[in-house]
């Protein structure tokens, strides 16, 4: 791969997925793209770059973009984001949405599905308390390939042993040799669709809870800010945002603010409409303990 090839690929990936590569990541490109090069019988990365530059390379371009994504995920990853769900967000929503009984959750980088399925299992565990409620969980990702895996819901023995309590494995998975398939009752609680966060996603509608974890880390600052601000626009005023352990809004945008003592949890900044003092007061009461 020539330095020019590398520069082209950096620019290409930045535009396609927001992925920012420092100038020493040639090895990463090699290890991720050589399988594509071989599969298509090309001679090397340089030929791949030539093909990408040619018109009509959309399908190849998508493959290259997907191959460069990092898809690692596990059930109940980092644990606290799911404690926040049980201890803060769900109780708040059960009060705030008592009339509608409808809550919408978005996993904005759902990858192979462990995150949305973890939320679905928590909801299932709540049992009859949620009878009559509708919880919509939507998982999106740039990569159609990982979403196919998410939809299939088949995990290796290794994948079901990092973070997933054994009792939940017994309850919500069906064993098939050393593979474990998520049960239909959990799978049917989650809907998937491909979505690039760089594109307009306002058509998804409003969400009460947004999990956007371990994806902003790959973006540069302006992209992070843009994604966060557009996310704020479709987060309910009394809704929540969850970021990954290495991510924050601090220093990037005022559209969300951190919730004290709840690592990774954020609330949209509610702008008090002029002359409507009662409305935000209601929101505060519902949020319970949220330092606004």
């Amino acid at each position: 791969m020539t330095p020019l090839d590398y520069d082209f690929l950096r620019g290409f990936l930045k535009t396609r997925s927001g992925l920012v590569l420092s100038n020493d990541k040639q090895y990463l490109i090699e290890s991720r793209l050589m399988p594509i090069v071989r599969k298509h019988g090309m001679t090397g990365i340089s030929e791949l770059v030539q093909k990408l530059k040619a018109p009509g390379a959309e399908s190849l371009a998508a493959k290259v973009t997907e191959a460069m994504t990092t898809n690692e995920s596990f059930f109940f990853r980092d644990k606290t984001p799911f404690d926040h769900f049980k201890e803060v967000m769900l109780p708040a929503m059960l009060k705030a949405r008592a009339a509608k009984r409808h809550v919408r959750i978005w996993c904005a980088a759902a990858s192979t599905g462990q995150e949305p399925y973890s939320l679905a299992m928590i909801l299932k565990e709540m049992g009859p308390q949620l009878a009559g409620w509708r919880f919509e969980i939507i998982g999106t990702d740039l990569s159609g390939e990982v979403l196919e895996r998410a939809k299939a819901g088949i995990y290796s023995q290794f994948e079901v042993q990092r973070g997933l309590p054994i009792q939940m494995l017994l309850k919500y998975f069906i064993q098939n040799g050393d593979q474990w398939t998520i049960s239909p009752e959990i799978r049917s609680m989650v809907h998937y669709r491909t979505l690039n966060l760089l594109n307009d996603f306002s058509a998804l509608g409003q969400f009460d809870i947004v999990y956007c974890r371990n994806v902003l880390i790959y973006f540069d600052q302006p992209t992070k800010i843009d994604v966060l601000n557009r996310t704020a626009k479709l987060t309910a005023p009394d809704g929540y945002l969850l970021l990954g352990a290495a991510e924050t809004v601090v220093g990037l945008t005022d559209s969300f603010k951190p919730i004290a003592d709840r690592r990774g949890l954020y609330a949209p900044t509610v702008k008090a409409p002029a002359g409507a003092a009662a409305a935000p007061a209601k929101v505060f009461a519902v949020a319970g303990g949220r330092p606004l």
């Binding site: 290794f158 042993q161 990092r162 973070g163 309590p165 054994i166 017994l170």
Partner: protein
């Protein structure tokens, strides 16, 4: 420092488990079968037990049932670690009072995740 009793008839597995668990801050004791493990527990109850299933003399399942009958025998957190990887075995172990279950092969990440799950770390 918490003590973890590693019960496995394979000295290789005991060594691997010891290295991982020492890395997680445990003091390690070893036993090569359920009988020896039980004798250790008559003396001192460890905080944690990493338990193989198939072993000569007394197997892990039998050991667990005896352990849970002992005075103070409810206290140790028992994490099975075995090649018995089917639902029936897992359910039986949990029913007999196991706290968690590791399906072999295992690595540091899995041990760490499972020990965290039962509140040992």
């Amino acid at each position: 420092m918490k003590t973890c009793l590693v019960v496995d008839d394979s000295s290789v597995i005991r060594k691997v488990a010891r290295r991982i668990l020492e890395g997680l801050g445990f003091a390690i004791e070893e036993a090569e079968d359920g009988q020896k493990a039980l004798e250790f527990c008559y003396g001192t109850m460890p905080e944690a037990i990493l338990l193989d299933w198939n072993m000569p003399v007394m197997d892990g399942y039998e050991f667990l049932r005896e352990l849970r009958k002992l005075p103070g025998g409810q206290a140790p957190k028992v994490v099975f670690c075995t090649t018995e990887n089917d639902v029936a075995h897992i359910a039986r172990a949990m029913h007999a009072g196991a706290n968690e279950y590791i399906m072999k092969p295992f690595d540091k990440d899995i041990v760490e995740a499972k020990f965290a799950e039962v509140g040992l770390i």
